[in-house]
Amino acid sequence: MSIDLSQFIPTFLEESFEGLELMESSLLNLKQGDDDSINAIFRAAHSIKGGAGTFGFNRVTDFTHEVETLLDEMRDGRRNITPHDTDLLLKSVDCIRLLIESARDGIECNDPQIDANFRAIQLSLNNDDVVADACSTPSDDPACAAEEERVGWLIKFVPSHEILQTGNDVLRLFIALEEFGQYTTEVDLGELPPLAELDPQECHLTWKLTLTSDCSLDDVNEVFEWVEDECQLVVTPLQASQTKANEEQGISDDVVAEAAEVIQPQASAPVISEAEKVPVQSVGSIRVGIDKVDALINRVGELVITQAMLKQIGNELNELDDDNDTLTRLREGLVQLEGNSRDLQEDVMRIRMLPINFVFNRFPRMVYDVSSKLGKQVELKLSGESTELDKTVMEKIGDPLVHLVRNSLDHGLETPDERIAAGKEPTGTVHLNAYHQGGYINIDISDDGRGLNTEKIREKALEKGLINADQSFSDQEINELIFAPGFSTADAVSDLSGRGVGMDVVRRNIESLGGHVSLSSTPGKGSIFSVSLPLTLAILDGQLISVAGQTYIVPLVSIVESIQIQQAALKGIAGQQSLYLYREQYIPLYSIRTLFDLPDKTSEFDEGMIIIVESSGHKYALLVDELKDQQQVVLKSLESNYMAVEGISGATILGNGGVALIIDIKGLNNLKKQPTSFDTSPQMLQGVCA
């Protein structure tokens, strides 16, 4: 019989990673005497070890065992919690994570830090392995000498009176012996008190068993393992010569069976069955693969489209004869369908929502590591951890947030000495705050450090050719330059912030999620980076536009303003590039018709609408024929259904069954690759030519 348990590996992995996170967060706050935390950490390690052993992840088991031993000493108060141990344990968490990941991927993990850490723990434990080994060697088999002539075992079994109180049953022990071979039993009723004094919950019988078997002493002892403290057990080898004598005594198994039955009436007495009355409590949550949820969301998206189609047909029916009763009922049904599908869509979307805690969790550890490396004292404050957002957004926002927090730690906060000199507390604060606003989640990363050094940024920007010396910018505009491509204020590329990933990448990543990032800074007081993200990537608030009879969708979030075209503001310059004067600033004007090569180009600039859009801090004007409705649309990937198209981020299906393409505002940059000579916004130029 073999049962395949591999189906439980994903659960184990998920559970273990959660356990590791818990260990990490508890370790960071661990103080002497905090028994709850130590117990929680211990339990997490213990569960990982147990599960890993079951699945044969031996390296995980071995490593975690050492960690567990260390934790056990802390738990029992035999070891003080020192920063050294905490550090060691935090590193061990990383090692266990690595080991589990390699076990998951079926690869050998050769990371040298694992062995190093393993030795460090053993060193810390100062285990006297020699003694342990000596103890674990099984004691010598007393029967060794008699091995040759042995044909079985003579077992004298004198259970304590209370043996039944622990749920043990003598009969079952004997049944277990049966696996090894034939046996006979002899019961001694001598100790049995008179019936009047007999407590039916006690056992007063003793047995002599003769087992004919080639099993080892260990096998026999194992059967009695659970009761070894509750009985006197004498096991002696049975010699061939003794067998005959014993057979003559001839007490059959049945007698013993009956005897055993007699003495444990309570055990087999039926317990009144109330079970059926009380339903089994429902489970609080279930684990479902994300692909199932995505499939469901997709399906609901299709349903909403179908519903929109039906609604449109219903509207057409309105023009027909109104007295028709069937028609009236159909309309009522359609109205209900609309409400229900919208609710369904919202409910399904909510399944994907997770508290932002999942992202915030990593910060305590990161701040701990980074601040100790930088020699800064930092207090991390988290708030709004339970604010929910879409899992997909969550997965992608982690890295940008890490970068922003690193940036605050590295550039924002001062060293304790600097802080004291500036009249501040030596310990700096980094605060992460998440909250909902409209259809967006905002995450503010604020610090009480020195704030942005506007003058230094200006110098750097000049040096990098991002701005010209004769241009005037507000401080805010200068500060925003840190998001410009190729900008980095760190004088020396540090290990932390300057790993070649600049703030421009942060901005780009956030904007690719349909969000945006802004900053505000007060010199000497600190700075705040505000990240704003859509709650979900599956739905988009769109502005429907029409160009040459086609419907397109512009994400509402990128639209700054929509205006009638004014011929006076139009300015064509060298080549095809047009500029539009918008609020006393010339911005590039793109015609959707030209970009997508649609017909009727001759009169396009005569009439139509201008949509001012913003991407990566730069404004563009888009020329379209007509503005239509604003509506929530369900995003469909063009890439997976057709192919990636530059300038288009996806598609959706409209109520009339037609497909509308969603314009990728950022992607338009790349579509419109042509060098121009305008100089109002060099950053813009860089963006266009990138």
């Binding site: 929680a40 569960s47 052993g53 622990t166 043990n168 055990a267 089994v280």
Partner: protein, 120 residues
């Protein structure tokens, strides 16, 4: 068929034990910790209780001693799931009235053969 209460805070262990038992047509009820286990124990009749030791809330040893105070559980076998066979732990389990123990790493065949020892 015998009804078994499985108490473990680790979902994977709980699921595996339960799965293995169900393969053999045992009926199982799962509980996530000692408190849950005690509540569920009182909600019905069980032929066997399998419990982990280290759990939040109430640990397995405490659960065992509390079960022994219930008349319906006075003689019901209680097996302790443990990763190590430390004599100290076994002693504590015994004192609390545990019938025996199952040593992790969890092996389905071993689990079933052990269970046969306490359930007919």
């Amino acid at each position: 068929m015998a009804r078994i209460l499985v108490v473990d805070d680790s979902a994977s262990i709980r699921n595996m034990v339960s799965f293995t038992l169900k393969q053999q047509s045992y009926e199982t009820v799962e509980a996530v910790d000692g408190n849950d286990g005690l509540a569920k124990a009182q909600s019905g009749r069980f032929d066997l209780v399998i419990t982990d030791v280290n759990m939040p809330g109430m640990d397995g040893i405490t659960l065992c001693s509390k079960l022994r105070l219930l008349p319906a559980f006075k003689f019901i076998p209680v097996l302790i799931l443990t990763t190590e066979s430390s004599p100290d732990l076994k002693m504590r389990g015994k004192n609390a009235g545990a019938t025996g123990w199952l040593v992790k790493p969890f092996n389905p065949d071993k689990l079933l053969s052990t269970i046969k020892r306490v359930i007919r």
